[in-house]
């Protein structure tokens, strides 16, 4: 792509990625969560693929790194679900514990990050998985289409 697009992409990529991570982290307070944040993050990756061409990105962003990230995200999610197995499967075992367990204040308030028990951690796990998943989809499809042109 042209020089202008590449410089704008360089400028824009960090706000997009941080915004995506913000949505993942504040999933239990403001609208958002694992999937939406991951989708925003993956749109940043798509911007890079469009700006710099899928071949250059493919050199840095290896496909099996992403599949490891995706599997680890999924395992984190299932691990959290198994965490409360002593009582029942999806049990929220962090409620009341110091990490994420504070009881949210009632009435209209800006919301407290450290509430929600397991839910923020699950948001992070799903976010990891969706970041890796959607980036792989964008990357592989871009590569597949570019190959088709070359073969013709």
């Amino acid at each position: 792509m042209s020089k202008i697009v590449r410089t704008i992409a360089n400028l824009l990529i960090f706000p997009i990625l941080t915004f995506g991570l913000y949505i993942i982290m504040h999933g239990h307070l403001t609208p958002g969560g694992g999937f939406q944040g991951g989708a925003v993050f993956a749109s940043g990756v798509a911007l890079l693929v469009v700006a710099f061409g899928s071949y250059n990105i493919q050199k840095r962003l290896k496909e099996h790194h992403l599949s490891i990230l995706e599997s680890s995200g999924a395992l984190m999610f299932i691990g959290l679900a198994f965490g409360g197995m002593a009582i029942v499967f999806f049990y929220n075992f962090l409620v009341g514990s110091p990490i994420f367990g504070r009881i949210p204040p009632s009435g209209p308030n800006p919301g407290d990050m450290w509430t929600g028990g397991v839910i923020p951690l699950m948001n992070v796990a799903v976010g990891l998985k969706v970041i890796a998943g959607l980036s792989v989809i964008v990357l592989v499809m871009a590569l597949a289409c570019s190959k088709v042109k070359i073969e013709e």
Binding site: I68, S71, L75, V88, F89, Y91
Partner: protein, 521 residues
């Protein structure tokens, strides 16, 4: 040990899911470790299903609420309705669970060796385990929306597996068709779930069944659900995708896609019997299912006779034998509202249909695997090019004979036992049904003699002189299904009394299903 039994409904779904996402990481270590992980996960699931089945036949329905303070609490303190996702496993669900777990185990062991030369094997096993999770989840869940989510997991992994050998053009096309059909069907199921939520603000099947008033909207939801699941289980007017998806599917996968089709048929029965129960006008829906069954039987087998491709012929038999199951349970559904007819032949018909479901899952899985073994060794599926394979592939030929005799209902084997129950029960509702069923059984035998004659017997052809027997793990996979078929053939009464009758009673008895969740409130 009893803690294992209490938590087993969710463990049966969570263990394969955990293994599914572990395989890409473990396969970085070594391929052997990944194969061991996959088979261990599926074997442990099979063990859990058997343990749960034993407990259900003793103590009745198992309820498991995800995330509650204890597995049994279905309705939280200050609420009137169940709020969380509830897994409800009664005799009917565990019956389908046994069938799915066994066929998936056999399919996985079978595909150990024949997928060796493919690329991307760890993704193959992840999809295989996700297909198992989809089936078992659909059979155990008690929640309408959860049913939709597991149906989608099943469809996506099934389509991706059907199209796994991307170097064949027909494999990609089969997978694409299966995906289009499944996504349209699943959206219809979601639409029906939306209609239920609009009227009753409930998603739990038991709570819905209790609150059901069968209004006009419920009729629309009923048609959407019946049509979507009839299409997913291969009923005739909508069976078009079955041959295209089964023919190019890789080796161990076709029986698993077949048991996924049976999981959708289980969902059809669950909707008609438990969600609506006596509320729906049973005669109409019953006769719709019966007509779909009879058409499936006839069209399936006549088209099968015409095929020259081994796997496509067996795919058409999936449709025709699925017609038997629809006929069997359809007869039971048609008489649901007059109890004395239900007692005399309705319950027999349902048990016949369900017995045929599990019988057919075993010997159809076996036949698909033998068809695939031919393709694995000869490189072609076209019957016109084969000949004299009994000489070099002895075990495959023996397994094929067991499957072919069982499917055409020849007395010593279990196909006969379940078809006999269907004939007897369907005769009392309407004799024509039994006549068509018998004719179709004869044509089934005709089509399999055709396969046996052209593929196995005949003079030894020169180009297949050096063909060897299939590798050991494929034989083990076929052996499991053949053993199950033989076991069911030798002890039909034992099997029917312990597994099939409780399943049929659980299907008919809607009140017990509701009380298990609503606590008799």
């Amino acid at each position: 040990m009893d803690a294992l039994v209490i938590h087993s409904p969710i463990l049966i779904i969570a263990i394969p899911l955990l293994a599914a996402f572990l395989t890409p990481l473990i396969s970085k270590a070594s391929n052997r470790a990944r194969d061991v992980l996959v088979i261990a996960a599926l074997a442990f699931t099979e063990f859990l299903v058997i343990v749960l089945a034993k407990d259900i036949y003793l103590t009745g329905i198992h309820v498991y609420t995800l995330g509650a303070s204890s597995p049994i609490v279905t309705i939280p303190e200050q609420y009137m309705v169940p709020v969380r996702i509830i897994l409800e496993v009664d005799a009917m669900s565990i019956f389908a669970g046994i069938m799915s777990a066994t066929v998936c185990l056999a399919g996985a062991i079978y595909s150990l060796s024949c997928v060796r030369e493919e690329t991307g094997k760890d993704r193959f096993y992840t999809l295989l385990l996700l297909l198992t999770v989809g089936q078992l989840g659909m059979e155990f869940t008690g929640d309408m929306f959860n049913l939709f989510v597991f149906l989608e997991i099943l469809s996506i992994s099934g389509a991706a597996l059907a199209a796994f050998r991307t170097r064949f053009a027909d494999a990609v096309e089969g997978g694409f068709k299966y995906m289009v059909i499944s996504s349209v069907g699943a959206l219809l199921v979601l639409f029906a779930t939306g209609i239920f939520y609009a009227q009753y603000n409930l998603l739990n099947i038991a709570a819905l069944a209790q609150a059901m008033q069968y209004t006009m909207l419920d009729k629309i939801a009923l048609t959407l659900l019946v049509i979507a699941f009839l299409m997913k289980s291969g009923g005739v007017p909508l069976h078009w995708w079955v041959p295209d998806t089964y023919t190019p599917a890789p080796a161990g996968v076709s029986p698993m896609i077949y048991s996924a089709t049976l999981a959708c048929m289980y969902a059809l029965y669950r909707i008609c019997f438990t969600l609506y129960g006596v509320a729906l006008n049973a005669a109409t829906i019953g006769w719709i299912v019966i007509i779909a069954g009879v058409l499936s039987m006839f069209v399936g087998v006549t088209m099968a006779l015409h095929q020259s491709d081994v796997k496509r012929l067996m795919a058409y038999h999936v449709i025709s034998q699925g017609g038997y199951m629809l006929l069997g349970v359809g007869v039971g559904l048609a008489v649901l509202d007059n109890p004395e007819a239900l007692a005399t032949y309705g319950r027999e018909a349902i048990s016949g249909g369900l017995f045929h479901v599990i019988n057919h899952a075993f010997f159809k899985g076996l036949l698909l695997l033998t068809g695939e073994a031919l393709f694995y060794r000869l490189g072609t599926r076209d019957l016109n090019k084969m000949g004299g394979m009994a000489r070099n592939m002895k075990f495959t030929c023996v397994f094929f004979l067991i499957g072919a005799l069982a499917i055409s209902g020849v007395p010593p084997l279990n196909g006969f036992a379940s078809k006999l129950m269907i004939y007897e029960a369907a005769y009392q509702l309407n004799p024509i049904l039994t006549i068509v069923a018998m004719i179709v059984s004869i044509i089934t035998l005709a089509s399999f003699t055709k396969v046996f004659q052209s593929a196995y017997t005949g003079p030894a052809l020169s180009q297949y002189k050096d063909v060897k027997e299939v590798p050991m793990s494929m034989l083990i996979g076929m052996g499991i299904l053949a053993g199950a078929t033989i076991f069911f053939s030798l002890f039909p009464s034992l099997v029917v009394n312990t597994i099939i009758y409780p399943a049929a009673d659980a299907l008919i008895d809607q009140a017990a299903y509701i009380n298990a969740v609503m606590g008799g409130v």
